[in-house]
């Protein structure tokens, strides 16, 4: 009985008893979720356009953040550094398309998946070689990111919002809106959607697949840079950060591999669910359940919708 009480009644009693704590937990989950969404967004962009399950997204994020910080350490002003980093991400996209994707066109998914492991290994080695393996701190001040926090006195208590988190959420929102506009309204966006729908049909109406791939990988690189800046500001910029990318995988399958809104909604569900679970039910199990809870949440959704919440319906033909 005690156990049932601890699982089903006590956490909810706590939630109602101190709504300020609940609000704080949900806010933290929300910010975490927004950042997961951004990583998942990078995955989705690439998967939609090239069918590649890009394992290197996590390392791209670390690599972008490292380049930015590394350039600043070498005395480059922050704004020039930002532009240079974007240029580096473009060069990376072109390199990957030329050297990896083009020779491997039309291979099974798992081979392309494997190739992105190769990219991951290469980038880990290359990043450490150029910028060193020590953790660095993100240059938040130089990028005019706010610091400090806002205290809200609501719900009979105090809810603390980090200004950095607010900025992260705002920028994520702007990026998502921008990407949605880009996809819907521009010529390149239409071409991207055509490629995502059907590679061969897109080729037949004169869309250059190679060009599209470069654009998509570059976009994913820019998203990775934004994500890297915020994750880097919350902890350190180091290669350990790429583990965070693994957290984006349940987000991805929860939302559906091919859906941009899915990545956003999935990220929020996972982020908030994870924090609530850890805070209210975690102590029952000795804590640390954050490491696997996200996967179980995703698994539970998948059992009812095997293609994810917003994924394209899987139609199987013999």
């Amino acid at each position: 009985m005690d156990l049932l009480h601890a699982i089903f009644i006590d956490p909810f009693a706590q939630m109602i008893g101190s709504p300020d704590l609940l609000a704080q937990t949900i806010w933290e989950g929300f910010v975490g979720g927004v950042l997961y969404s951004l990583i998942a967004l990078g995955f989705v962009l690439i998967f939609k356009a090239s069918g590649v399950f890009n394992f290197a997204q996590g390392i791209m994020m670390v690599f972008a953040a490292l380049t930015l910080v590394g350039l600043h350490e070498k005395g480059v002003p922050a704004w020039v550094g930002l532009i240079l980093t974007i240029a580096v991400m473009y060069a990376l996209a072109v390199g990957i398309e030329r050297l990896v994707l083009r020779p491997l066109v039309n291979q099974p998914d798992i081979i392309l998946f494997m190739a992105t492991f190769g990219i991951t290994y290469f980038l880990i080695g290359f990043g450490e070689l150029v910028f060193g393996g020590n953790p660095k701190s993100m240059i938040t001040k130089e990028l005019f990111l706010p610091s400090g926090s806002i205290d809200l006195h609501i719900l009979g208590g105090r809810v603390q919002l980090q200004k950095l988190d607010i900025a992260a959420a705002a920028i994520a929102l702007i990026m998502v809106a921008g990407l949605a506009l880009f996809f819907q309204k521009t010529r390149i966006g239409r071409a991207l959607r055509a490629v995502a729908d059907d590679h061969q049909a897109a080729l037949s109406v004169g869309i250059s697949l190679n060009q599209i791939w470069v654009i998509v990988w570059f976009t994913a690189g820019v998203v990775a840079l934004a994500t890297g800046i915020f994750w880097g500001a919350r902890s350190d910029v180091s290669f350990a950060l790429q583990v965070v990318a693994l957290k984006a995988l349940p987000v991805l399958i929860l939302g559906g591999l091919t859906s941009v809104p899915g990545a956003i909604v999935g990220g929020l569900i996972i982020g908030i669910g994870e924090k609530l679970g850890e805070f209210y039910w975690g102590p029952l199990l000795g804590g640390g359940i954050e490491s696997w809870l996200a996967y179980f949440i995703a698994l539970a959704f998948l059992l009812f919708r095997p293609q994810g919440l917003f994924g394209e319906r899987i139609i199987e033909r013999i």
Binding site: F113, G125, E128, Y295, L302
Partner: protein, 364 residues
């Protein structure tokens, strides 16, 4: 010219009079000689001439990782179910073996190594259940649930390590036929021979499984599971059997890894990196090929060791961190190069080479 033809790799003059002979795992006589030669080298030459470093850091891990790769290949290569939980299942084998061993220390260690495979198989079946509904990359991420949950259990359940303070498994000394095989007193050669015997036996069994009815059932499921269901294969049983057998192999590999190679291990040893490493092996080696697992283990495990040793051998002095970074870069490049050169893995390359030899000097 029968006698003369034996020199070359071709089967001219080797007549098969029964169906069994035609379906044999090594239908060509030269293959059987080649295998005998490899086994002779592995069982006699390496223990006799190999030094401690070679056996301890290269051969033992190579064999153990190959065994795990065979296990994963049964699941991913033959049945088409992508799994990223290999590291955790190796951990299940290792922790099960440790618990059984410390509960009943008088029982032969080999019995417990095999028994831990069964424990791992049970856990594998439990986590294999979602595979009926979830497919492809979705399933791969679902198996990550197993990976992270089990890893968390290893780190958080003190019962698993008998409440010792270090939180790690420490392998006690055990003997087999009077010789110490585990613990600090066991010599590398003894451990090597035990590992080699188990791996050779299990590779042989795996080869028989995949060439028989079960293997064909799995391959039918891999190629298209709905079609397989239509020709009368029960998907639930086929998929769960694949999970069970695969986890059994992986569990035994995990037990061997801790008991006969590392000697002690923490939960960290079975993290996601290990899962990825094994997955690399089967993709580079060749999906759906037993010999491919060995090729893959060679590339993924032995290649970085060789790369690290290379600068010292040619007289260059580069500091250790730099070598690590270069190793990462070169490994990454080599993975991509191999994939571009032969997306079906080294096993396919090996087959092509054999085919060329068979028809040599003619192109067809």
């Amino acid at each position: 010219m029968r006698g003369g033809a034996d020199v070359f790799y071709r089967e001219a003059g080797q007549y098969k009079t029964t169906y069994a002979a035609d379906m044999a795992i090594f239908p060509i006589r030269q293959d059987r000689y080649g295998l005998a030669l490899i086994l002779l080298i592995a069982f006699v030459a390496i223990p006799a001439f190999g030094n401690q470093f070679f056996i301890n850091t290269m051969m033992i891990p190579f064999l153990i990782l190959s065994l795990a790769a065979i296990g994963l290949n049964l699941l991913t290569g033959y049945t088409g179910l992508l799994s990223l939980g290999t590291g955790a299942f190796m951990g299940v084998g290792a922790y099960a073996c440790y618990k059984l061993e410390t509960f009943f220390p008088q029982v032969n260690i080999l019995v417990w190594i095999v028994a831990s495979g069964f424990v791992s198989a049970l856990v594998g079946v439990a986590f294999g259940l979602p595979s009926l509904r979830i497919k492809g990359f979705y399933l791969a991420v679902a198996t990550l649930a197993a990976q992270f949950f089990l890893e968390w259990c290893f780190a958080r359940a003190p019962w698993l390590v008998n409440y010792n303070d270090s939180g790690a498994i420490e392998v006690p000394s055990e003997t087999l036929f009077g010789l110490p095989v585990t613990g600090p007193t066991a010599t590398p050669v003894t451990r090597y021979l035990v590992v080699l015997t188990i791996v050779a036996a299990m590779a042989w069994i795996a080869s028989n499984i995949v060439h028989g009815r079960i293997g064909r059932m799995w391959m039918a499921v891999r190629d298209m599971d709905i079609a397989a269901e239509l020709i009368g294969i029960r998907l639930l049983r086929a998929k769960l059997l694949a999970f069970a057998v695969s986890s059994f192999y992986i569990g035994v590999a995990g037990a061997l890894m801790v008991f006969l190679w590392l000697g002690a291990a923490e939960a960290e040893a079975f993290n996601i990196d290990l899962s990825f490493q094994i997955l690399f092996m089967i993709i580079i080696g060749g999906l759906g090929s037993i010999v491919g697992a060995f090729f893959g283990a060679t590339i993924i495990h032995l290649l970085p060791i060789a790369l690290r040793a290379l600068p010292a051998m040619v007289g260059l002095s580069i500091d250790a961190a730099r070598i690590d970074q270069l190793t990462f870069m070169i490994t990454g490049i080599l993975i991509i190069v191999f994939l571009i050169a032969e997306p079906h893995g080294l096993a396919r390359l090996w087959q092509t080479a054999k085919q060329k030899l068979r028809v040599w000097p003619f192109p067809y």
